[in-house]
């Protein structure tokens, strides 16, 4: 079992090269911001609800 990204006790996470976790993507600051940004999230709430509703309606006869 390989060691992967760990937090060292002092500060930031460190990456172990060639570990599973080292190949995973991580969101940048802007993407993290969009996840909390109320304007964007209010838009996403309605967009996703409409998407889910359309899937429900298409799904069965």
């Amino acid at each position: 079992m390989s060691t992967q990204t760990r937090k060292n006790t002092k500060s930031k996470a460190i990456t172990k090269p060639y570990s599973n976790m080292s190949y995973a993507t991580e969101p940048g600051a802007f993407v993290r911001f969009t996840r909390w940004c109320m304007i964007n999230q209010i838009y996403q709430f309605f967009r996703l609800n409409i998407k889910v509703m359309s899937i429900v309606l298409k799904g069965h006869s």
Partner: protein, 483 residues
């Protein structure tokens, strides 16, 4: 006049009973047989498991709701199905055993014109040695409340400076419900971070998936930021963001106190120590038997090897490369008896969605098909609508269909609770079962397959909690809320 008996008051059975009662006049009898006195909104058990909701917030008593609806409610376990009747009667019936009240322990024959088997899964803890004793579960509100008690102990230890290892995932090589376990590990990481204890927590995800993001449906492809991305990338990214390490392609085989034994697809045996674990057990059918009119056990004819009921699916054994979307059932009618149906988790899938994998030791390590609430509810509704049609018209056709190879599903994976700081990953797929003939490039309709993370997802999950509990309580205009 017709009598319809529904076994099981989970999402599928309760939905079926609600639509049956609504669609049929009072002269027809609708009967619910369930050993549970409560209905539970299973998707919110995760929040009970991290102490953010109480069991009372995710359940309610069934008896008053059924009384209000005009449904006959028997708090009993289904023991056997007699679809041909017996020497005394030609009417099909189920044998039930009361589990509570004045009739506790008594058996009764309940005849039917139509039977809906919506008994859900048996949580097969016994399939993994030590799983029940040494791990936690969030499959029911009771289990989740117990898990929270143990989780709280782990938090206290960290608050006292002690490091803790958390191991969350699947507890059997063929387990499903990776999504629920995934929600739980994300919520634990979120809550630990909120308590500023992340530096003392070592959190691990262990799964039977070949690649993360499989979720028992063979993974999916989603459009994100200008790319078409496999859910493997999407899932690994979330785990990395939350500081969660992972073990994949693993079949948990045994647990002892603080230690799990597992085998991987290379046939290697490993152990992993933990302080707190939540591992989803494998599922099986509840073990109800089927008896013919001569008293012979015909369970092999009516049920598949996993004790789930065979329906209008293609059960011909075939290799993965020959699996087709058309193998999946559309109307969930028993393959042996026209007036018997199996809804929700109770029907036997024709095969999996994820490719079967076996280790060199012969250990099967792959997820079995997921059975989320949305398709379960849709199936319950469609079965009810077809029965209503048959009763009202006298015809035997099925105008309503709901194949998992055509219907879509939305799955909202909570990744932290909080109106402004909480988040969830919203995933939609259509169809649920990949159709490589219709969608040769991505297996599904790409425009309907979505993966988005954000606070809006948390609002959606919370909204659905209140909305579906409102619907399940048969409050005014409940039927306007779609399945």
């Amino acid at each position: 006049m017709a009598k319809i008996v529904v076994l099981g008051a989970g999402v599928s059975g309760h939905t079926a009973v609600s639509y049956l009662r609504k669609g049929l006049s009072k002269e027809h009898e609708v009967v619910m047989v369930s050993p549970n006195s409560n209905y539970q909104w299973v998707p919110s058990n995760i929040w009970v498991g991290v102490g953010l909701m109480t069991p009372d917030q995710v359940k309610f008593k069934l008896a008053p709701i059924y009384k209000k609806m005009g449904v006959v409610y028997k708090q009993a376990l289904g023991v056997s199905i007699h679809p041909e009747g017996d020497q005394e009667t030609t009417s099909g019936y189920v044998t039930i055993k009361y589990v509570d009240g004045d009739k506790k322990g008594q058996e009764e024959k309940v005849t039917y014109d139509y039977l809906v088997n919506a008994t859900g899964p048996k949580l097969n803890f016994e399939a993994t040695e030590g799983l029940r004793e040494h791990s936690n579960s969030v499959c029911t509100y009771g289990h989740a409340a117990h898990a929270w008690t143990n989780l709280e102990e782990a938090y206290k230890k960290m608050e006292n400076g002690e490091k803790q290892t958390f191991l969350i995932g699947t507890g059997h090589g063929l387990a499903t419900c990776q999504g629920a376990a995934f929600e739980y590990v994300l919520n634990i990481a979120f809550e630990i971070h909120k308590r500023k204890l992340s530096h003392l927590a070592d959190i691990w995800w262990i799964s039977n998936e070949y690649e993360l993001g499989d979720f028992g449906m063979g993974g999916a492809f989603i459009k994100r930021n200008g790319y078409v991305t496999p859910t493997k990338i999407f899932t690994e990214s979330i785990l990395k963001e939350y500081g969660i390490r992972w073990i994949k392609r693993a079949a948990v085989q045994k647990l002892e106190k603080g230690k799990v034994y597992y085998e991987n697809l290379r046939g290697e045996k490993h152990t992993k120590e933990f302080d707190f674990s939540m591992l989803i057990p494998g599922f099986a059918g509840v073990g109800i038997t089927a008896i013919d009119k001569n008293g012979q056990d015909i369970s092999d004819k009516v049920f598949a090897a996993n004790t789930m009921m065979k329906v209008d699916a293609d059960y011909t054994p075939k290799p993965y490369e020959e699996w087709k979307a058309s193998d999946w059932p559309k109307i969930y009618q028993s393959s042996s008896y026209d007036n018997v149906y199996a809804a929700g988790i109770a029907f036997a899938p024709p095969h999996g969605m994820s490719k079967p994998m076996t280790s060199p030791n012969g250990t099967k390590i792959f997820p079995t098909p997921p059975r989320t609430g949305m398709p379960s509810g849709v199936i319950g509704k469609v079965v009810a609508e077809n029965i209503i049609h048959q009763i009202k018209t006298g015809k035997k056709d099925h105008p309503h269909e709901a194949s998992m190879a055509t219907m879509g599903a939305a799955c909202i994976v909570s990744a932290g609770y909080g109106l402004f700081k909480g988040k969830a990953a919203v995933m939609t797929v259509r169809p649920i079962v990949q159709d490589w003939e219709k969608y040769p490039k991505w297996g599904r309709n790409l425009s309907d397959t979505v993966g988005v993370v954000g606070t809006a997802g948390h609002w959606m999950k919370l909204f659905m909690h209140y909305m579906f509990l409102y619907k399940a309580k048969a409050k005014p205009f409940w039927w306007l809320i779609p399945e």
